[in-house]
């Protein structure tokens, strides 16, 4: 123990404490964390709404069509505080006055705040459900890709030799297949629905992580602390997962943060093409619906979906950069981008 204290940094902080301190000082990163927090809360709320309706076995409000409320503009554009108001059901106008005008105005402002779509469904509710699905895809694909990438990367880096050859062969084969087409093919083969999306994205996402982890583990393999652990007679599993993995885990976190938005983007794309989510308001399906309505001048559905995707992806991208700077400044941007 005394040997480590001699070489430890003067501040006495661990890597993670140091990283947290650096991240705290980065105001942009903190703002991103807040945005991600809000989205997460919305996704959880959406999950709650979804489960509740499923449990009660009723059509949720975001799926119920109401042709009286077709194409309502966002509430603030409908002049909620005006004297003249129109009844949606009958189309008659009526006057509100006095206190009612203000009291009911706030209620009107809260009704369909982001407008409704062509079937009278609330855009905000649908966006929340889209958030839920995006999170679901991001998390489940990570749950497929991260264990796979970490395990194979560790094995390849630690054992080297034949194991390494095999794993390198495996990931270079996966890397050789054009990404988006591969995802599409997997989704097509597995069949429509979310399972295809999860597998398609998950089975292509592990490659980059595996490569990074392998490189890091190779760097650590011959360090003295690993040699010491070996001399103590610890098992390989213990050395890999208790000693080496914590030291390379920042790679996993940074990759997760940068891959999460990519997974969301791919889900949007797949759902847009009709091989992703079926019958639920995913962002891709909303874009696909809004696209036709855009030509009729219904801009708000498109605008709000775009904004919703934009902010979550932006927040994750910026946070990923900040995390990378905080945890390991040496890590570089990964090779090619998404050549769609």
């Amino acid at each position: 123990m005394s040997a480590t204290t001699a070489t430890a940094p003067q501040s006495g902080h661990s890597l993670w404490q140091e990283a947290r301190r650096r991240l705290r000082r980065n105001r942009l990163a903190m703002a991103c964390l807040w945005i991600i927090g809000i989205y997460t809360a919305l996704a959880l709320y959406g999950e709650g709404v979804y489960r509740w309706h499923q449990w009660r076995d009723v059509t949720p409000s975001y799926q119920r069509t109401d042709l009286d409320k077709q194409y309502l503009q966002p509430s603030y554009l409908r002049a909620p505080f005006a004297r003249e108001q129109m009844d949606w059901a009958t189309g008659e106008t009526y006057t509100v006055s006095g206190w009612q005008r203000w009291g009911a105005g706030w209620t009107r402002l809260a009704q369909h705040p982001l407008g409704t779509d062509g079937l009278g469904r609330d855009v905000f509710q649908r966006l929340v459900q889209g958030t839920r699905i995006a999170y679901q895809v991001g998390i489940i694909t990570s749950l497929i890709a991260i264990p796979l990438g970490v395990l194979l990367g560790c094995l390849a880096g630690y054992f080297g030799g034949r194991t390494d050859d095999f794993i390198v062969w495996l990931y270079s084969t996966f890397a050789a297949i054009p990404g988006l087409l591969f995802i599409l093919a997997i989704a097509m083969v597995v069949g429509q629905g979310l399972l295809g999306v999860y597998l398609g994205i998950g089975l292509t996402m592990w490659v980059g992580l595996c490569r990074l982890i392998r490189g890091e583990v190779i760097k650590h393999r011959d360090r003295p602390y690993v040699a010491a652990a070996r001399a103590l007679g610890l098992s390989h599993v213990r050395i890999i997962f208790r000693h080496i993995l914590p030291n390379v885990f920042h790679v996993v976190i940074v990759t997760f943060t940068l891959r999460f938005p990519a997974a969301i983007g791919t889900e949007v794309f797949l759902s847009f093409l009709g091989i992703g989510v079926q019958g639920e308001p995913s962002w891709g399906i909303m874009i696909s619906n809004a696209r036709l309505r855009l030509w009729h001048g219904v801009w708000w559905e498109m605008a709000f979906v775009t904004a919703a995707i934009f902010f979550i992806v932006l927040a994750f991208n910026l946070l990923g950069d900040a995390l990378r700077d905080a945890l390991d400044p040496r890590l570089r941007t990964e090779g090619e981008g998404d050549h769609e």
Partner: protein
């Protein structure tokens, strides 16, 4: 050098083999029936069988002699007496076998084995039964036409008798449709007791042990035969050849313009690093990256082409039709590229030779363009060569939105109509190109950068 190149080429082989295996696993194994995927689940089994016959999907997967046929699905009666459900003289009953259920056939009657379609001619098949015969019972399986069955002639005597089986036993009998092309309907005849069948199965024989789907696939690849599109019945090779040019007219300008722009902006960033200009470009590129690709296309097409009328909306007739897709492609890809090249440039900026150059009094401009750019070019070249296969795949969305008849358009159409063979061909060619491009990158690398060891 020659040895290095040769070694790299040899290293390519396992990767290409891996790609072949993965596409095989994906399309032949995971997908279940490619016929059902392409034609839908509601077509007749006969059509599916023909589809499989043409594409070799009715052979065994890896190796082996026997594979199933859709003419008669394996029956073990654990759920129903199907295919004898409701037939006269056939009863389903609980027995002490693994499936727990068997059907028993009444004596002195002939029972038709219902095939869904006549068996493929000139092929060998075999019937496998797990059955039991009661004391003194005899049973035959024989080919006959159910409508013209003459009971008095006792046609079953011509067929194959079931061996005596007081207890459950497995028995197989071969049939050859090339020897007797009229063997299209098969019947059972029982006399003197009951025949109980636990499992019945019809299998077709492949030509030899390695007459399998995988070998068929390898053979197709060896012959450069990509098969036929099930949607348009055109040869896939021809479709791909027709699609390459439109794809390239779109992707090459996008790539070239995007590359030049990204490198220029990243040099500006590196030149003015840590000033407001640099930060502005960084934020801008992250923002550009974060806008969904679909939105670029949809809004670009709607606003620029439809509302403002600056560009044609849809089609592929002249250069003008390409301008908007190229613009959208460049803008949407710019963010990622600028970020990447900026990191590359800055990485070089912190190297020691740059410090030395500054120390000996080289101007900022001189360092940037003479030293940094030259060294950064190695990474740039790598990235350029590696991007070449993606140029071939085309741009799935841009092409289908703007009606450019390239490979992306082909791919999207194939996915929408579940045209398995077309997708498989595009994936395969794209992967091979990627592997070849990788080879070229490494060779360029070894050639440009003397530090790379040729071992």
């Amino acid at each position: 050098m020659a040895r290095y190149i040769l070694r790299r080429i040899l290293q390519m082989i396992p990767t290409i083999f891996g790609v072949i295996v993965i596409t095989f696993i994906l399309f032949n194994l995971v997908g279940g029936s490619p016929g059902a995927m392409t034609l839908g689940h509601h077509v007749s089994p006969r059509l599916l069988e023909e589809f499989d016959e043409v594409r070799g999907f009715n052979k065994p997967l890896l190796m082996g002699l026997w594979s199933g046929t859709r003419a008669f699905e394996d029956a073990d009666f654990s759920r129903s007496a199907s295919p004898w459900q409701g037939k006269k003289g056939v009863q389903r009953q609980a027995v002490d076998t693994r499936s727990g259920w068997a059907v028993s056939f009444a004596p002195d009657e002939s029972h038709l084995i219902p095939l869904r379609f006549p068996l493929h001619p000139e092929t060998r098949f075999r019937w496998s039964f797990r059955y039991r015969l009661s004391e003194g019972a005899h049973a035959w399986i024989f080919p006959a036409d159910a409508d013209e069955l003459d009971k008095d002639a006792e046609p079953w005597r011509e067929g194959t008798p079931f061996p005596a089986a007081p207890d459950w036993r497995q028995w197989r009998t071969m049939i050859d449709t090339s020897a007797q092309p009229d063997q299209q309907q098969w019947m059972l005849y029982v006399t003197g007791g009951t025949l109980e069948i636990d499992i019945v199965r019809l299998q077709r024989r492949a030509n030899h042990w390695f007459d399998s789907q995988f070998v068929h696939y390898l053979d197709q690849i060896r012959r450069f035969d990509l098969g036929y599109s099930s949607q348009t019945d055109q040869p896939i090779g021809q479709m791909i050849r027709a699609g390459i040019i439109p794809s390239l007219t779109l992707t090459v300008p996008i790539f070239a313009i995007g590359l030049v722009l990204a490198i220029c902006i990243s040099l500006v960033c590196a030149f003015f690093r840590d000033t407001w200009l640099d930060r502005f470009f960084v934020v801008l590129s992250v923002a550009l990256m974060s806008i969904n690709y679909l939105v670029w296309i949809i809004v670009g097409q709607y606003v620029l082409a439809f509302q403002w009328g600056w560009f044609p909306v849809w089609g592929y007739e002249s250069m003008a039709y390409l301008l908007l897709p190229i613009l959208i492609g460049v803008v949407s890809g710019l963010g990622t590229d600028v970020r990447f090249y900026r990191t590359v440039m800055l990485d070089e900026m912190y190297k020691e030779y740059v410090r030395t150059a500054f120390a000996k009094g080289v101007s900022r401009k001189g360092v940037l363009f003479k030293h940094v750019l030259k060294n950064a070019l190695i990474t740039v070249v790598t990235n350029v060569v590696i991007a070449i296969p993606f140029l071939y795949t085309g741009s799935l969305l841009l092409e289908s939105f703007f009606g450019i008849p390239g490979l992306g358009y082909l791919g999207i159409n194939a996915i929408n109509s579940s045209d398995v063979d077309v997708i498989r061909a595009i994936v395969l060619i794209g992967s091979v190109l990627y592997v070849v491009a990788n080879l070229f990158t490494d060779i360029c690398y070894a050639w440009v950068d003397p530090r790379v060891k040729l071992t």
